[in-house]
């Protein structure tokens, strides 16, 4: 197999693009896809500081790597979920990456912020671990950005993540979720920062290849709580479809974004208030994070 651009031996075939690339041309292809995402959705400008949420996995470290090389002013944010050795190892990967690239990394610890780590939150709430984890992540990412006057948080969500989320929302016709699914969510309140996903045009195989070729030391093991997660099952289904019909995931997601999403946009805006306790944004009086934190602290007291 030959590189589409230079004709040298290829290291990666991208069937959905009917192309293969050598290592240098693949890395350039990857960076160009990130640039196109940032440009097309006006995710951030060169003057804006960007908070990059990093997990120690391939996606978020690949994203951070591209943004640093393209000259953006970035700060990494690692959320320590307290998930046993998995969290210790992923934190070490983020710290090593930040030290190697000479960029700042902020660490926020869920156990300190909520009152207990994710495994305990799971037991206390009797809900799936991803539930309390996702809620805490969204809250802490937003607050970390606000505290530092940073207008935007970038996450490493890739094409597969987005396609799997879309698939799950469509399977249950969750129209609220469909209206919110976007590569860039603008700030809808002074205390909500913009949230962007510059990797949404790239599959997770492509982000893994980028991380490997750039020799980024990332955590290959998956979160122990991810096993059996519905989103993983959806990804497997989508990969079967992709195998039979290259481009299926891309067409599914991009068709939604280009043609269907507008049909789900809310006609009435939801009233947003500031939480009576912490001041962050909520649709009620006290936000879900403060309620979760109360529940956890009562249980572990």
């Amino acid at each position: 197999m030959k590189c589409r651009k230079c004709g040298q031996g290829a290291v990666l075939e991208l069937r959905r693009h009917n192309a293969a690339f050598c290592a240098p041309d693949f890395l350039e292809f990857f960076r160009n896809q990130v640039r196109e995402a940032i440009r097309r959705h006006r995710m951030f400008t060169r003057d804006e500081p960007v908070l990059v949420a990093v997990s120690g996995g391939k996606d978020s470290l690949a994203l951070w790597d591209v943004l640093i090389d393209d000259g953006y002013r970035t700060t990494g944010l690692y959320l320590d979920l307290g998930i046993f050795e998995y969290s210790q190892e992923s934190k070490a990967k983020c710290e090593a990456f930040a030290a190697h690239r000479g960029v700042p990394l902020v660490v926020s610890t869920v156990a300190e912020e909520v009152g207990a780590p994710v495994p305990v939150i799971k037991d206390v709430t009797r809900r799936p671990p991803c539930s309390g984890c996702g809620l805490s992540k969204r809250y802490l990412m937003n607050r970390a950005a606000l505290d530092r006057a940073m207008p935007v948080v970038a996450t490493g969500h890739n094409l597969d993540d987005e396609a799997a989320t879309l698939f799950g929302s469509v399977m249950h016709w969750q129209t609220d979720a469909l209206s919110r699914q976007s590569p860039a969510l603008p700030s809808s309140h002074p205390r909500l920062v913009r949230r962007v996903k510059p990797l949404y045009r790239l599959s997770e195989r492509e982000t893994a290849a980028y991380a490997f070729l750039r020799r980024i030391d990332y955590i290959v093991e998956e979160c122990p709580f991810a096993k059996g997660a519905t989103s993983i099952a959806h990804k497997e289904i989508l990969n079967r479809m992709e195998d039979a019909s290259p481009g299926a995931k891309h067409n599914f997601l991009f068709g939604f974004l280009d043609k269907a999403r507008v049909a789900f946009e809310r006609t009435e805006s939801v009233a947003l208030n500031e939480c009576a306790r912490c001041g962050q944004v909520t649709t009620g009086t006290v936000c879900a994070f403060c309620k979760l934190s109360d529940q956890v602290k009562r249980a572990v007291r």
């Binding site: 197999m1 290829a10 290291v11 990666l12 075939e13 069937r15 290592a23 996995g57 391939k58 996606d59 799936p128 991803c130 539930s131 984890c133 996702g134 809620l135 992540k137 969204r138 809250y139 937003n142 996450t155 969500h157 597969d160 993540d161 987005e162 799997a164 989320t165 609220d176 979720a177 919110r180 909500l192 599959s203 997770e204 195989r205 982000t207 893994a208 290849a209 490997f212 290959v220 093991e221 998956e222 979160c223 709580f225 991810a226 997660a229 989103s231 993983i232 990804k235 497997e236 990969n239 079967r240 992709e242 195998d243 962050q280 944004v281 909520t282 649709t283 009620g284 936000c287 994070f289």
Partner: protein, 72 residues
Amino acid sequence: MKVVLRNPRREVEVAGNRRVKEVLRELDIIPESVLVIRGDDLVTADQVVRDDDVIELRPVMSGGRDAVGAQG
């Protein structure tokens, strides 16, 4: 030849001297779901792997629930 699999890490022996895509088919692994690694290089599905090669099939899947939901 030796094939290294991850999550959990384990090794299996399969016949070599054939294309990567045939090895993947025998192991019932979708090409889209892994990187094929030999030493410091990525290997495409049309390349032939030899009997004395060691390849790693590194899964590319990550994540649990996506963080798309609304605040608060």
